[in-house]
């Protein structure tokens, strides 16, 4: 931003994005970032291809959200629509996990694993491959239009679009059978939705990773706004040791650093930063904690025979300790890390327990509301119910349905019992819901009250497990 011209005339209400040309850098954190990138992209592109045998009638994709079939498959776990709370649990785990990791190591999520970071990093790598490193790219953008420039730009955008397309396509694969999609997609046999969403995700990837980049982190993402609340002075964050670096200034090889700071003002830390931050100004919201500036400065320091980590991945408390010459100490166990970890463990344990104990059969009884009851010709009162048995296992099952709690009650399930029976045997196909009309009748004088609790008990014929549901039997 040009401050002097701003003083002369009121600046526009709107500012153009300043171009950022991150410079190539090598070092520990860069290697870590590459490793994270390869692992995460590998998972993202590869996961839909994992197979999982669930028998002949179920899809054999390990990870699948089957929207039309209303099922989600996660390896051996099969989720029905009413069980989406497992997804909620997963989101809570994600949120608390994010809090914990932030309390320990600052914005590691932002700097290393956030999809925006990962894809932007990948796009920048392609950019560097085609257009060259920072000076070459700056020169290219300044250069007048030419065939060579057009060729490079086309190649870059072509490559970006190709990656975006693969990214968008891979997302669709989580929602449908991957090999089938692959086959149908290129012969034009997929549904308009598939093409539409692929186009949409291709476009968003292209725009967000190709153009929006750090603007997503600075302007669009809500996380930087409150992540500061998860830090404390013991969280590991990227900081500049200004007590050691200042006063800064240009330096020659072999010169003495007596009476001056260690920062040689080479500007490399700023040039490598993917969000254009000058970390020497202190903590800033735009810093995503990628630690590339640490790598950059660490490549400079040895040339001057200076100790490394002038910019460092360390806690504020340690910084203060170092400044005073005390031994720094990383404190992992702090109230907030303990609380976050405890919540994490509790939620994870609750989810694991719920999953382990979860029953793959559900019985619902819905009483008719109109009429509440009817009088029959022989004087009996009769109530109608709809009984739904959810058989979430893949095997066909049979349930023995009986009622209790209403004296003299008999039940009738048209099509499955004789007129008045003491129980009904109801078949429910695997992976489906059996819906039955159930009529229960008794003599009103035996009822003894206007309404009584009635208990439906469905017994799994094979396992013998009983599912009970209480409802109301109404009388005159």
């Amino acid at each position: 931003m040009n401050k002097s011209s701003a003083a002369a005339a009121p600046a526009s209400l709107y500012a153009a994005r300043e171009d950022i040309y991150p410079r190539k850098v090598q070092g520990t954190f860069r290697r870590l970032k590459w490793a994270a990138l390869i692992a995460l992209l590998g998972i993202y592109y590869g996961a839909p291809w994992l197979r999982w045998d669930r028998g002949p009638e179920a899809p054999d994709q390990a990870l699948l959200v089957d929207m039309p079939g209303r099922r989600a498959y996660f390896f051996s776990i099969e989720i029905w629509p009413q069980e989406v709370y497992y997804l909620t649990g997963l989101l809570i785990l994600g949120a608390i996990g994010l809090f914990l990791v932030t309390a320990i190591a600052g914005r590691v999520w932002c700097g290393f694993t956030c999809p925006q970071t990962v894809w932007t990093d990948l796009f920048m790598w392609v950019e560097r491959l085609i257009e060259g490193d920072r000076p070459a790219r700056m020169a290219l953008d300044r250069a007048p239009f030419s065939a060579a420039k057009a060729l490079k730009k086309t190649a870059k955008h072509g490559a970006w679009l190709a990656i975006s397309f693969v990214t968008g396509g891979a997302w669709i694969m989580y929602f449908t059978d991957a090999p089938t999609l692959m086959r149908e997609f290129f012969v034009g046999a997929s549904s308009p939705e598939v093409y539409g969403f692929t186009a949409l995700f291709t476009a968003t990837t292209y725009v967000l990773a190709g153009f929006a980049r750090e603007q997503v982190c600075i302007y669009m993402c809500p996380w930087p706004r409150f992540q500061g609340a998860m830090f404390d002075e013991h969280s590991l964050i990227v900081t500049y040791e200004d007590w050691r670096g200042e006063p800064r200034g240009g330096a020659k090889h072999g010169q003495s650093f007596e009476g001056r700071g260690h920062c040689v003002d080479c500007g490399l830390c700023v040039q490598v930063c993917p969000t254009g931050v000058d970390i020497r100004k202190g903590q800033q919201m735009a810093c995503i904690g990628c630690a590339l500036c640490v790598d950059a400065c660490n490549s400079i320091m040895p040339r001057f025979g200076l100790p490394g980590n002038l910019i460092t991945y360390d806690s504020i408390a340690n910084q203060a300790a170092r400044m005073k010459g005390e031994t720094p100490r990383v404190r992992w166990l702090r109230p907030r890390t303990i609380v976050y970890a405890a919540i994490l463990l509790v939620v994870a344990a609750a989810m694991a327990t719920a999953l382990a104990l979860r029953v793959r059969t559900e019985v619902h009884v819905i009483a008719d509301r109109a009429p509440l009851f009817v009088r029959l010709s022989d004087g009996d009162v009769r109530n109608g119910y709809t009984v739904k048995i959810l058989n979430m296992e893949r095997a066909d099952k049979e349930f023995r349905l009986a009622v209790a709690g209403v004296p003299g009650a008999t039940l009738n399930v048209p099509g499955f019992t004789a007129e008045q029976a003491d129980h009904a045997v109801l078949p429910v196909k695997g992976d489906s819901i059996g819906t039955f009309r159930v009529f229960v009748r008794t003599r009103p004088d035996r009822l003894g009250a206007r309404a009584r609790d009635i208990e439906f008990a469905a017994t799994d014929a094979v396992s013998g497990r009983v599912y009970r549901r209480t409802n109301v039997f109404n009388g005159p």
Binding site: K3, A6, Y219, V374, T435
Partner: protein, 284 residues
């Protein structure tokens, strides 16, 4: 804005707005953000042209795409009809007795029948066939004046009751108020309540019942479905079960009426609604 005010701490200029000594810094929006805003304006103009959005005096501007949600709905309905064709053809071909025995067909027929019932029958017979006092019978019980077999129900719906249809179900209850004395009618009423187990037997009533009522309602007062004579022994009373109501019905009978639905519903719909009514729990 000749003199630009700068914030002393940050060096950022202010917008010149000040509240209680607090000044607003001028931190510009990114320009692309602004362009996105302009783009939405352009988009909205395109939208006005492409989709119907402007009212005119008597109608509305149709938009160059000619889109209308009603046309979309009609398309969807046509598609749904088409998807149902196979099942509807099966219902058209099958007899009502076969439909209620075939689980798949029954599920389809009752689902459709439920909607038809709600639209056409519910105003009188109540939701779920709960009936309404004053001559609208409960369809969820097992008391069927004209018979509760699937065929009987279908016929009743098709031709109606005293509907003017040539095959309409019709029964005539004489006006005993003209022929009998009030005391005699009261005796018959008492006798009927005795049949239903609601009163002790009455000698006089029994004699009068044998003379006047047996021909239609039978010796045991169980009624006759072929004649449409209701069962008087089951404690279920179409026009009310109090003594006064029964006396009134004998003296000056009210005779209910139901339209013939043959002229309003197609044969498949008739079968579907009959199947639904049968599944409500009737069917004697």
């Amino acid at each position: 804005m000749a003199n630009v005010d700068k914030d002393t701490v940050t060096g950022t200029e202010t917008t010149g707005h000040e509240w209680d000594g607090i000044k607003e810094l001028n931190n510009p929006l990114p320009r692309w953000w602004l362009y996105v805003f302009y783009a939405t304006i352009v988009w909205s103009i395109g939208y006005w042209v492409v989709y119907p959005s402007w009212p005119t005096f008597s109608t509305y501007a149709k938009g160059v795409l000619g889109y209308s949600s009603r046309a979309e709905l009609e398309k969807d309905i046509a598609a749904a009809r088409k998807a149902q064709e196979a099942q509807r053809a099966k219902i058209a071909a099958a007899g009502i007795a076969d439909i209620v025995k075939d689980q798949d067909l029954l599920v389809f027929a009752t689902a459709g029948g439920k909607a038809i019932f709600a639209e056409n029958c519910q105003p009188c017979h109540g939701p779920g066939g709960a009936g309404r006092p004053g001559g609208y019978p409960v369809l969820a019980d097992d008391d069927w004046i004209w018979g509760g077999s699937p065929e009987d129900i279908l016929t009743s719906i098709r031709v109606g009751i005293r509907s003017g249809h040539k095959d309409a179900r019709a029964s005539e209850m004489p006006r005993f108020g003209d022929a009998l004395k009030a005391a005699e009618i009261a005796a018959i009423a008492d006798h009927l309540l005795a049949f239903a187990g609601q009163k002790p037997k009455s000698e006089a009533g029994a004699k009068l019942f044998a003379e006047q009522c047996v021909a239609c309602h039978g010796e045991d007062a169980k009624g006759n479905k072929d004649l449409g004579a209701p069962n008087l022994a089951d404690g279920i009373w179409l026009y009310g079960g109090t003594r006064e109501a029964i006396v009134a019905q004998i003296a000056n009978p009210r005779l209910g009426m139901m339209p013939a639905w043959e002229s309003r519903l197609d044969p498949v719909a008739l079968k579907m609604v009959a199947a639904y009514v049968y599944a409500l729990g009737g069917g004697k």
